[in-house]
């Protein structure tokens, strides 16, 4: 948990995503008509125009697509934890579905637990669900397996 962490505004898309995350589930919006997954979630399917959708359960397994190591100047809450790694992770089910998140060794570890030297692109990771402020659960990515060639 980060004291003073930025949190997403709650709306018809962020609320269910974070509600599922609080139950330990990574769910991604899926078009009910054509079955295409989309991220970020939004009202209309760009593939078929349908506005009906479901929240599809994912395995939570993915690979690091890219990452940065943030250094100050940063907002005070984040500056205290710098340097820290932020990654974009592509999901096993569909590599075009990518999520941003912090990397951890332990599911409740701090966001600066993983050093830059611990990460490589294509590193295998698994979604974990540490609690944040105000009842939010922001998925993080636990370093699990080996690095697979891209």
């Amino acid at each position: 948990m980060i004291e003073g962490q930025l949190l997403p505004e709650l709306n018809e898309f962020t609320e269910p995503f974070h509600e599922f995350a609080s139950r330990g589930e990574l769910r991604i919006q899926k078009c009910e008509s054509c079955g295409v997954l989309r991220m970020p979630p939004r009202p209309m399917c760009p593939a078929c125009g349908s506005t009906s959708f479901v929240w599809q359960l994912m395995s939570g397994r993915g690979r690091v697509w890219s990452y940065v190591v943030a250094h100050p100047p940063l907002l005070p809450a984040y500056a205290e934890l710098a340097p820290y790694v932020v990654a974009i992770v592509e999901l096993e089910e569909d590599p075009l579905i990518r999520l941003c998140g912090n990397l951890v060794f332990d599911s409740t570890g701090p966001i600066n637990e993983v050093q830059a030297s611990d990460v490589t692109i294509a590193q295998e990771v698994t979604a974990v669900f540490p609690p944040a402020d105000d009842g939010f659960v922001l998925p993080a990515w636990q370093i699990t397996g080996a690095t697979q060639p891209t």
């Binding site: 970020p40 943030a70 907002l75 932020v86 922001l138």
Partner: protein
């Protein structure tokens, strides 16, 4: 509208880390200079175009400047992506007969730390651009571009030395431009490598400056421009683009995030032009961050995908190199005005007035922000 319109005048204020006058006063100074430079009277101005992020207001500018009846005005969104669209749309309005003399301007005060938008966010973030990234500490534009940069380096073998080439080229050009904020500050490769990291793989010198200043241009018909005092700088072709499934700045969700707006904008630009990349004599490529120059070199077709790093080696983007880029010092070493000083420099290169003048310029390219919905203009000198 090919070759039907022209930039007849340009104007700038001083550029500095911090300037005393307000954004309005800076805008009035730059617009006055541009109208004077064109040899026109403010009462002849009947069109106005600016960025949607512009803090000055059309009615305020028009009343102070003494413009006549303005019959066309418009704004273009997406910050650093707007510049070429602002000028291009003004040219389109002239070509369409909605106005006859348009001014386009950008006035910006960003030297003060407190003025940076990411520093003043509330603790609830909204919008798809931020909601899925900022809570995790991907807070600043530099973090968002660093994410693409790491992937680019991984995919194509580009190195920090290639990014340094971009920063060093800009600085060397600025060292020869008295108007540049970094005119007197030299930089070595060691300075670059030793500078502090901001968002790895990007260091301090991969970032543009934060400065105060204003620039303006006057656009009129090519026929009218030929009767005025300056060499005629034709707007040969221009384009805007927001590619399919693009998301501004946090462009991590489309099929190929490294194939940004530059590619689709270039495709439109070259389709409207008699020239191609090989005909371009000098280019001002939007440089809020050094990797955007690499991506733009590829997007606009100056080299193959993945080869931009090598393209910058051995002075490749300095005056005398394969393609001189950002010859005023650009956003990284002259001033950062959301790319509008790149437009005035592109015009100067056609007029033969740059402090880093490329010989015998016919085609001078200017691009706006890569990584956001963008635009580009190909200026042409009359032979």
């Amino acid at each position: 509208m090919k070759d039907q319109t022209a930039v007849a005048g340009i104007g700038s204020t001083d550029f500095a880390k911090s300037l005393e006058p307000s954004e309005r006063d800076l805008a009035l100074e730059a617009i006055s200079a541009a109208v004077d430079d064109a040899g026109l009277h403010p009462s002849e101005v009947d069109g106005m175009a600016c960025y949607s992020m512009e803090a000055t207001e059309e009615v305020d500018i028009a009343r102070n400047m003494g413009f006549g009846d303005v019959t066309w005005f418009s704004k273009v969104p997406y910050g650093g992506g707007a510049g070429c669209g602002v000028v291009g749309q003004a040219a389109m309005a002239v070509a369409a007969g909605q106005c006859s003399v348009a001014v386009a301007w950008r006035s910006r005060k960003r030297g003060a730390r407190s003025s940076r938008p990411w520093a003043g966010v509330s603790d609830r973030v909204s919008g798809d651009q931020q909601m899925w990234t900022r809570p995790y500490g991907l807070l600043r534009p530099v973090d968002e571009i660093a994410m693409l940069t790491r992937r680019y380096m991984h995919s194509y073998g580009a190195t920090r030395d290639h990014l340094a080439n971009v920063a060093l080229a800009a600085r060397r050009h600025a060292n020869n431009n008295p108007a540049a904020v970094m005119a007197d500050r030299t930089m070595t490769r060691e300075d670059y490598m030793d500078s502090r990291m901001i968002s790895e793989p990007l260091c301090l010198f991969d970032n543009c400056l934060e400065t105060d200043g204003a620039c303006a241009v006057v656009i009129t018909s090519a026929d009218r421009a030929r009767t005025l005092r300056n060499p005629t700088v034709l707007i040969h072709a221009w384009a805007q683009s927001l590619p399919s499934q693009h998301q501004t700045m946090t462009n991590f969700f489309c099929e190929d995030p490294l194939r940004g707006p530059a590619w689709s904008c270039a495709k439109k630009l070259w389709s409207l032009s008699d020239a191609g990349p090989a005909d371009v004599d000098v280019a001002q490529l939007y440089d809020a961050f050094s990797p955007l120059v690499l991506l733009s070199l590829e997007g606009y077709g100056f080299c193959e995908r993945g080869d931009a790093g090598e393209f910058t080696d051995d002075g490749g983007i300095e005056v005398g190199g394969r393609l001189p880029v950002n010859t005023s010092g650009g956003g990284m070493s002259e001033a950062y005005l959301h790319g509008f000083n790149l437009i005035t420099e592109a015009v100067k290169q056609v007029r033969g007035e740059s402090t880093n003048q490329v010989e015998d310029v016919e085609f001078s390219l200017c691009t706006s922000g890569e990584g956001v919905p963008t635009g580009a203009i190909l200026f042409r000198g009359e032979r």
